[in-house]
Symmetry: C2
């Protein structure tokens, strides 16, 4: 079975929302991605935590499917983020951010990866993403995430990354920003020309959209009445997508479509509780049930 | 075969958009609804036009499937609307509005309707909608449209209408406003409690959502790269829905789902050109092709 090498951030998040608040709970792209993907496949974490990251925190990654042997522990404090969600929960603002040990993060891919393994590059500096790709050039499938900050401040390196990955996952506003287009369909097609074979656009409560050369696919989000905390939903979505793809080892358009449903299902669990708590409660039956519900919900 | 009795407005629209502009082109809810629905079923127009509505305008309703014998011609001018779309085309503002002959519109349902016939009540005063319902109490299926103005200014009558119709079609902002809820799923369920057996929420470029007692259904919009004029897309959607339902005569959840795809397909044509022009060009093959594309586009 293929493994997924996942490179990203581990953070302590403080969250204010109309639905409640939380102080210094475990977060970061790598955390959400791994907790989702590990329901399907083995995930090897490439990240860095500080001296304040204790054994109790580490127990969150206690699943047999999560390999923490490449998780680096550095002097200093773990990455911290504080944000606030506005009334409609679709908008948020960052109140403070301290990169701490993540600032000098130097990703080291395990030596024993092979060409069957998958690679997820979570949102981060395109320079680091390039360094990671150079350590694992023969991956089976590489999915990239990025954000407006890098599009604005390091487009040249980002362009190089885009030429070397198989897929990009990005939200709708960022897709428009990256392409310079206002129509999402035009934007997605233009990004395909930048290199990736597939582009998955995340639209939050409005679902997701797949662009590939000869095929487009769209799906709505799973309907959730009580969204408590949207933090990490995008990385959780990516975790479901990559987890499902890596479990089968093969990547086909049909499997990518189903992977997007699993991504949607995992994200729908994620938002139900603060932090990644809900991802730790669910089992394969919960996931399968919601997958079946989703298919029912979208089949004419 | 069932007919659809459709009650609504006929207008001359003047439109300013980033994609171009148009002066005094044929519009109004009844126009868009009829031009979409008539591709599937016979539609009987109940509306009013002014003395300035000439034979050339009338030729737009020249399809054998459109019955204009209940279309009233009154002294005075036809309803006029002028609006402007902002850069993202999802937002528009009304620049001017003159109800003219529509102000004293007194809908008269044809005498020879029967219990197999369908009824569409386009957006309009709940008092007029109640008057119409009283003329056709034994319809096979009645679909209602409304807007924020009536929710705000005549909620009592609107509540009575909601208790007497089978379905409501409404946009997402209006659904939230009508229910007083910020979550769309909660909003849809709450509106079901107000009377309709089904609630269809239109989300524009994000698709549509069906609420019914034991079943929810969601579908994305058909992907359109060049949206030239969104005017009438909502009524066109309703026309596709009702046209398909009336063609079969039977209303089941399975048929409502397929009807929503036809509604989506018809709306996707509508926005491609200014006014209802595109709806007049297409034929059943165009519609079927795009239906098949849509199924492909949304099937995992």
């Amino acid at each position: 079975m293929s493994s997924i090498v996942a490179v990203g951030s581990i953070a302590f998040d403080s969250i204010e929302a109309p639905t409640g608040q939380a102080e210094e709970i475990l977060g970061g792209s790598l955390t959400y991605f791994a907790l989702a993907a590990s329901h399907f496949s083995r995930v090897r974490l490439v990240g860095v935590v500080g001296a304040d990251f204790n054994d109790e925190h580490m127990r969150v990654f206690g699943s047999d499917s999560i390999d923490t042997s490449s998780l680096e522990r550095a002097e200093g404090e773990t990455f911290r983020w504080r944000g606030r969600y506005l009334d409609d929960m679709n908008q948020r603002e960052t109140l403070s951010l301290a990169l701490n040990v993540f600032e000098s993060f130097d990703p080291k891919v395990p030596k024993d990866v092979d060409a069957n393994d998958f690679l997820f590059l979570a949102n981060g500096s395109p320079k680091l993403q390039l360094q990671t790709l150079e350590q694992m050039p023969d991956n089976a499938f590489c999915l990239l995430d990025t954000m407006d900050f890098w599009i604005e401040n390091d487009r040249a390196d980002l362009q190089q990354v885009l030429e070397r990955v198989d897929g990009l996952v990005i939200n709708d506003e960022e897709a428009k920003f990256l392409s310079g287009e206002t129509n999402l369909i035009t934007a997605g097609n233009k990004i395909l020309d930048m290199g990736p074979k597939i582009v998955i656009v995340k639209k939050g409560e409005h679902g997701a959209f797949l662009f590939s050369t000869y095929l487009h696919y769209a799906l709505p989000a799973y309907p959730i009445e009580h969204v408590n905390d949207p933090t990490g939903a995008g990385d959780t979505f990516a975790g479901g997508v990559m987890g499902y793809l890596a479990r089968g080892g093969r990547v086909t358009i049909g499997r990518i479509k189903r992977a997007m449903i699993y991504g949607t299902v995992m994200a729908s669990f994620c938002v139900e509780k603060f932090g990644p708590d809900r991802l730790l409660e669910i089992d394969s039956t919960d996931i399968r049930d919601r997958y079946d519900d989703f298919v029912q919900f979208t089949t004419p």
